[in-house]
Every structure is written in structure tokens, then in C-alpha cells.
């Protein structure tokens, strides 16, 4: 990425912004959809992320990392979304072909796990999704959310404990 493009973006050049958008929309979308697990919401939040970036362009320091800045804004929006949409009824994101859900797990067990997962507090749900389901590294998660690696580990630990308790209450003992 050239500094000139970032400088032009900071100066309000729409073509530079479009170039940045086209380069990073996939990365930002991917990060958001891993957190919210809803394609439609992820698309809207991606656009909202870039709109905030565009509105804040005058404050952007061209010496900073654009993708890191974008990811931080995306994380905040995704967390707000999860807080305002607790326990959504379904996760309409289709799994990629190479990693389907395990057919060995009974359907009702899978649904119970998904229900318990969606009922997690937003911050725990986001970290659990990124770390446990999407297999993102703790360093990447910490960087994206603007928290320490220790905080990521703590949230994963708390999420797992809550899930265990909920599933136990549901009578699930695999």
C-alpha cells in the first residue's frame, strides 16, 4: 500500500477511498462475519465501517495501518450489533463446503449448543466465535478487539464455562 494513496484518502479523494474499499472490503467483511455469523448483517456492518472510516478520514494518520484501523472500527460495530441483537433465532450463514457440521452430533444437541452459544454475552460470544469456531489466533483477536491476549484467554475461559453450565442444565452430557 502506498502512503500517497492513504494521504489522498485523508485529503478526501474518493478514488483513493474506493481503491482502499475494494482492497479491504473482503478482509473487513470476513472479520465481521466471523463475529456476528450473519451474512446480511455483516454486509451492512462492513458498509457502515467504511462509512465511519470515510467520515473520519481527516483524522486518519497516513503513517498508521489502515487495515488495523478498519478492523478496530469493525469490531466495535460488530460488538454493538451483538449487544443489540441478543439470542438471534438463527445463523443464516452457510458453512463452507469443506467444513460441515459434524453429522455424528445429534441435531437437537447441535441446536442446543447453538442456542446456548447465541445466548452468551456479546463480548464472550464474539471471542468464542473467533477463537473456538473460526480458529483465529489469540494475537489476531486481541489486536482486532483492542484488548490484551490475557483478556482474550479470560473471555474464552468464561464463555466455555457458561456454555458448559447451560448445556448441563439442558441435560446434555456428551
Amino acid at each position: 500500500m502506498t502512503d500517497a494513496r492513504l494521504e489522498r484518502f485523508a485529503d478526501g479523494d474518493l478514488a483513493a477511498f474506493e481503491s482502499l474499499f475494494r482492497e479491504f472490503q473482503g478482509e473487513v467483511y470476513g472479520w465481521i462475519v466471523r463475529m456476528v455469523r450473519d451474512r446480511g448483517a455483516a454486509e451492512e456492518l462492513t458498509v457502515e465501517t467504511f462509512l465511519r472510516i470515510y467520515n473520519a478520514r481527516a483524522r486518519f494518520d497516513a503513517g498508521r495501518s489502515f487495515p488495523a484501523w478498519a478492523r478496530r472500527i469493525a469490531s466495535n460495530l460488530a460488538l454493538s450489533y451483538l449487544k443489540s441483537h441478543p439470542a438471534r433465532p438463527e445463523t443464516p450463514v452457510e458453512p463452507p463446503g469443506e467444513a460441515p457440521e459434524d453429522p455424528a452430533i445429534r441435531r437437537e444437541t447441535r441446536e442446543s449448543i447453538a442456542t446456548a452459544f447465541r445466548a452468551l454475552p456479546a463480548k464472550l460470544q464474539a471471542v468464542a466465535s473467533l477463537a473456538l469456531i473460526e480458529q483465529q489466533s489469540y494475537d489476531d483477536i486481541a489486536d482486532g478487539l483492542g484488548i490484551s491476549v490475557g483478556a482474550v484467554k479470560s473471555r474464552v475461559f468464561r464463555a466455555v464455562r457458561i456454555l458448559r453450565t447451560k448445556l448441563k442444565r439442558m441435560g446434555i452430557q456428551p
Binding site: V33, P95, R164
Partner: protein, 69 residues
């Protein structure tokens, strides 16, 4: 059930999402930017020109006009 078993169960029960966007979002982006842009109609321009003409013809009216804004 221990923590490791719980993690494994979660991974097996909920599949990773498809992280590739299905469409180009630039057009949505462009629409959102355009919505923010102030759009002046011909009537806005006509009112602006009329006001400026009035102020130029009657400069003493500027202060009362500002008072009523």
C-alpha cells in the same frame, strides 16, 4: 464434560462461516456516501439568489433578516 471437551463440541456443532463476500459492496457504499451529500434543488438555488439579491438591493435589511433567522 471438561473445558477441552466443550471446545471440541462447540467446534463440531457450529461450522465456520464462509468469509468471502458474495457481492461487491462498493455500490452500497457509494449510495451511503451520496445520501450524506447535501443536495440543492433549483428551488434552493432560486431562494438563495433571491435572498442575496434582496440583501444587495437593501443592505439595511441584513441585520433584521439575521435577527429573524
Amino acid at each position: 464434560m471438561n473445558d477441552d471437551r466443550m471446545k471440541e463440541l462447540l467446534r463440531r456443532a457450529i461450522a465456520p462461516v464462509d468469509v468471502e463476500p458474495k457481492r461487491d459492496l462498493w455500490y452500497d457504499m457509494r449510495r451511503r456516501i451520496d445520501e450524506r451529500t447535501l443536495r440543492l434543488t433549483w428551488l434552493d438555488w432560486a431562494l438563495l439568489v433571491a435572498t442575496l439579491t434582496f440583501c444587495a438591493a437593501f443592505p439595511e435589511s441584513i441585520l433584521p433578516l439575521l435577527y429573524h433567522l
